[in-house]
Symmetry: C2
Subunit: 334 residues, 2 copies
C-alpha cells in the first residue's frame, strides 16, 4: 500500500488533521510542526490520494479535452493546439484528460458530467457541436468551445477571426491581379466553411467580379485530402489562376497535384493555405497561408476554462484571436 496521511501522522505522533493542515499551508500550524510534517512527507514521498481528495473537495484538478475521433487526419493541427492547452494547464497544476468522441457524444458528455470526471471541458469536437453545447448548458460543468465562434452569447469560446482571415487572403490575391480564384473548401466543416464562403463571396462582389460556382469545390477528409479536388479544378475548361485551400494540408496536396500536372506554382497558379502549420514551411515553394495561432488558441481556451472552473458565474468569455496573412512563395502576381 501507498503511504497515506495516517502513516505520516502516526510517525510524527500527530493527528491527521494537523498533518493535513500543515501540508495544505494553513496558517494555524506551529512553525516547528509544519517543518517536521514537510520533512516527513518528503522522506516518505507522500502525495495525497487523488481520488480521496477529489471526493472530499469536489474538484478533480483535471480538465477534459474532447476531440474528434478523426484526430489522425489532423496531424500537426491537433498537436499544436494541444501544445497550448498543456502549457496553460501545467501552469495551474491541472491535468489533462483526452476524450475522443464516440458515436453518442451526448451520452459521453452526460457520463463525464455526472461522474464528475473533470472540473471542466474544452469542446473541440465539431460533430454535433450544437447538441453538445445545448446539453452542457443544462449541466453545471464549466466548458469552453475551441475553434468555433458560437452565436449564443451565453457560451464561452476561443476561435480565430475566420471572416477576417479569409478576407485577407482574398484581398492579397485580388490585389495581385487574380480574378479567377478558386476556393477548395471542406463541406464537412460547415461552420467554418460558411464563414469563409461568405468572405470569399463578399470579396469577389466588392471587387466587381462574378461568382462562378465551378470554382468552389470541396476536398474530402482522408489521407490526401484535396488532391482529387485540385485535379478536378485543373480539369475545368477555364483554369483558375489562384486557389485558397481550407487548410494547409489541402494546400500541400493541391501543390502536389499541380506539380504532377506541370502546372507551375506560383507562375501558373497561386496557392494559399490556412492555419500555418509547420509543414507550410517545408514545401517548394513555401506556402502563403493564413496564420491561425493554434497554440495560443489552445492556451487561451485552457485559461478561459480554468477561470470558469474557479468561478462559473463570471460572464462568458468570447474571444476571436486575429488571423494573419503570411505571404510566402506560393503566390505571385498574375
Amino acid at each position: 500500500m501507498a503511504v497515506t496521511i495516517l502513516d505520516i501522522a502516526k510517525h510524527l505522533d500527530l493527528s491527521v488533521s494537523t498533518v493535513s493542515r500543515a501540508l495544505n499551508g494553513y496558517g494555524d500550524v506551529a512553525k516547528e510542526t509544519r517543518k517536521r510534517v514537510e520533512e516527513a512527507a518528503k522522506e516518505f514521498d507522500y502525495h495525497p490520494s487523488d481520488a480521496a481528495r477529489s471526493l472530499r473537495q469536489k474538484r478533480t484538478n483535471r480538465v477534459g479535452l474532447l476531440i474528434p475521433s478523426t484526430i489522425h487526419y489532423m496531424g500537426e493541427f491537433f498537436s499544436e493546439l494541444i501544445r497550448g492547452v498543456t502549457l496553460a494547464l501545467a501552469e495551474s497544476g491541472s491535468n489533462l484528460m483526452l476524450y475522443t468522441t464516440t458515436t453518442d457524444e451526448v451520452a459521453q458528455l452526460t457520463r463525464i458530467c455526472r461522474a464528475r470526471e473533470v472540473d471542466g471541458i474544452i469542446l473541440f469536437s465539431a460533430d454535433k457541436l450544437d447538441e453538445a453545447i445545448s446539453f452542457l448548458k443544462t449541466e453545471s460543468l464549466p466548458f469552453v468551445v475551441l475553434g468555433h465562434s458560437i452565436n449564443d452569447p451565453a457560451v464561452s469560446f476561443v476561435a480565430s477571426d475566420n471572416r477576417g482571415g479569409m478576407m485577407a487572403a482574398m484581398q492579397h490575391l485580388l490585389s495581385s491581379g487574380h480574378s479567377r480564384i478558386a476556393y477548395l473548401a471542406r463541406y464537412d466543416q460547415p461552420r467554418l466553411h460558411s464563414q469563409r464562403l461568405l468572405s470569399y463571396q463578399q470579396a469577389l462582389t466588392e471587387a466587381g467580379l462574378e461568382i462562378d460556382g465551378d470554382l468552389v469545390t470541396s476536398a474530402s477528409i482522408g489521407t490526401r485530402t484535396g488532391y482529387r479536388a485540385m485535379n478536378s479544378l485543373l480539369d475545368l475548361p477555364v483554369l483558375p489562376t489562384a486557389v485558397i485551400a481550407f487548410n494547409d494540408q489541402i494546400a500541400i496536396n493541391a501543390l502536389q497535384a499541380a506539380s504532377e500536372r506541370h502546372v507551375s506554382v506560383p507562375d501558373d497558379l497561386s496557392i494559399v493555405g490556412y492555419n500555418d502549420i509547420r509543414s507550410s514551411l517545408s514545401t517548394v515553394p513555401q506556402l502563403t497561408t493564413v496564420r491561425q495561432p493554434l497554440s495560443e488558441m489552445g492556451k487561451k481556451a485552457a485559461e478561459v476554462l480554468l477561470s470558469r472552473v474557479h468561478d462559473n458565474d463570471i460572464p462568458p468569455i468570447r474571444t476571436n484571436l486575429p488571423a494573419e496573412l503570411i505571404i510566402r512563395g506560393s503566390t505571385s502576381h498574375v
Copy 2:
C-alpha cells in the same frame, strides 16, 4: 448537486447496497428489483461518482500517456500514435490522461504513482528514459514503454524493428547501385540513432564499402528539422547519391533543400524517410520510407498496459512490430 446512489435508493425505497449491487450486475438481486433500479438510473441519468468509486475500488479506469513536451515538433507522428492508444482504451472503457514531461520527470512520475492518479502508464517520453524506468520498477504501477526496445528483460515495451527497418532501407539503396549513402540522423534520439547507425554501418561493411564519417550528420530539433543538415551534405566535395533520413519530416525538409539547390530527386539524389506518416504521400516525388506502424504500436501498447493493469504478475510483454520498406518515387537506380 449531482444525483447520487442515495437518491436512487430513497426514490425506490431500497438500500444503497442493493442499488449498488443491481447496478454492478451482481447475481443476488431480484430480477424485478434490478429492473426498477436500472430504470430509475436511466431516468435520473445516474452515473457513479468517479472519485468515490476510484477511492473505494482502488482503480481509476484511467491510464496515463507521458509524452515529451516537444510534442509540437512531432505533429503527425504523435497524432497517429495517440489514435491507436485511444482506440484500444475505448474498447476497454478506460480513459486517457495526457501528461507532458516537466523538467523533473521522476518527481512527476512519483506524484502520479503516489497519488494513484492512473492505473498504469505508457511511457513515450524519450528524455531520461532510463531513470524513469528504474524509478517505475520500484513502484507497483504497471507501465509499458512505447517506441523504444528496452534491454532489461523485466520491462514491457512496444516498439518496431529498428535494425530491420534501417537494414531494409540500406539494402534497397545498395541494390540500386548506390555506394555513397548519407545518414541524416538525430543525435538527440540516442537510443534509436545508435540502432540505426549500427545497421547502417553493418550494411556498408557487408557490401564491402568504406564508412565515411562525413556522410553521417545530425538534424537538429526544430521547425525545419533537417533542412540545414541537408544543405551541409550538399556542400560536401563529393556528394552523396542517397540519403536516409531519421524521419519523414526530416526527409521532407531534405527534399526541399535539394529542390532549392536544383538537385533533382530521385535523379541526382535518392531520399528515404522513416515512419510513413501521411505527409510522406504529399511530396513530389512521394517519399520512399520505412513504415513504422504507429497507430498499431499505440494500440498494442495500450493493450499490453491494460493486461498488466488486470494482472501485474504476468511476464513482461516485449514486442517489436515489423518495419516495412515502402518504395515510392523518391528513390531510384543510380
